[in-house]
């Protein structure tokens, strides 16, 4: 019974994930696209929970669906949400090529998955109760992956400075 419930939750989350992903790409209004991406990120967080990644699911909702998407929505509101149809402009040749290339990527990945399909791919290791918990992730970040942790902080600092530099104008620099 528990097994069945997991399948149901997985199916609903995966369907919501793909549906909202397609909505992001096909919506004409960027505001609706951004809102669909929030749904996409939230349903991905459910999949993360099913994969025993509790901390990542929380971070996904807080960082992505919260902070990043709010920034997106602010910029879209600032720019006035100009609608552009997914198929508008551009040569039909390029559009066909884009669809074919995306389909080729998908087919390649699915074929590789199909070749590897079996118990080895679908089996899973026994995990402890604390797998994916904040404490465990934090311990790894401060021991085995300290360098990645520090580099991440530098990347974020540089991005923040870059955002300020890109956002400043001649007038705002003159006012200082």
């Amino acid at each position: 019974m528990g097994n069945f419930l997991v399948w149901v939750v997985w199916f609903v989350a995966a369907a919501a994930c793909l549906g909202s992903g397609i909505a992001v790409v096909t919506m004409t209004n960027p505001f609706y696209s951004a809102l669909s991406l929030i749904g996409n990120l939230a349903s991905l967080a459910v999949l993360y929970l099913l994969l025993a990644a509790e901390f990542l699911a929380a971070a996904q909702v807080l960082v992505y669906a919260g902070a990043v998407m709010v920034m997106f929505l602010f910029v879209i509101a600032y720019l006035g949400g100009r609608a552009d149809a997914p198929w508008a402009g551009g040569s039909p040749l390029l559009q066909t090529a884009a669809v074919l290339a995306a389909a080729a990527i998908l087919v390649e990945i699915v074929v590789v998955l199909g070749l590897a399909w079996g118990d080895e791919l679908n089996g899973s290791a026994e995990i402890s109760e604390s797998f994916g918990s904040p404490a465990e992730i934090g311990r790894l970040f401060l021991t085995d992956h300290l360098l990645a942790f520090e580099i991440t902080s530098i990347v974020l600092l540089v991005a923040a400075i870059g955002g300020v530099v890109l956002g400043s104008t001649k007038e705002s620099r003159a006012a200082r």
Binding site: L18, L51, A88, A103, A125, A148, L156, G163
Partner: protein, 102 residues
């Protein structure tokens, strides 16, 4: 494991990646291109986390967390560029932004 195996998550990730790639190549608004890029990054994250679960090794989750931080940085810079483009009165169209000169 009870419930779907890792392969099922990988298939969802593959489809998400395909959708994101389609959006990046098809759409012309830089905002939608950035949003589609997020979908692709998240598809990669889902793969990392699925394999972390399969192997019982947390390194994949650490990697996914780093990807999340890089994605946040990328969004900050990308949105800054888009706002700068809009301020200079440039068309918000990736096909027409083909010179680096401001």
């Amino acid at each position: 494991m009870s419930g779907p195996g890792v392969g099922w998550y990988l298939i969802v990730a593959a489809m998400l990646f395909g959708v994101g790639a389609l959006g990046v190549m098809l759409r012309r608004s830089p905002l939608i291109v950035l949003l589609s890029l997020e979908i692709m990054l998240n598809a990669g994250n889902l793969t990392l986390i699925a394999f972390a679960r399969q192997q019982g090794n947390l390194d994949g989750q650490i990697f996914a967390l780093s990807v999340m931080a890089v994605a946040a940085a990328e969004v900050a810079i990308g949105l800054g560029l888009i706002v700068a483009m809009a301020r200079r009165g440039m068309a918000l169209d990736v096909d027409r932004a083909s010179v680096l000169r401001g």
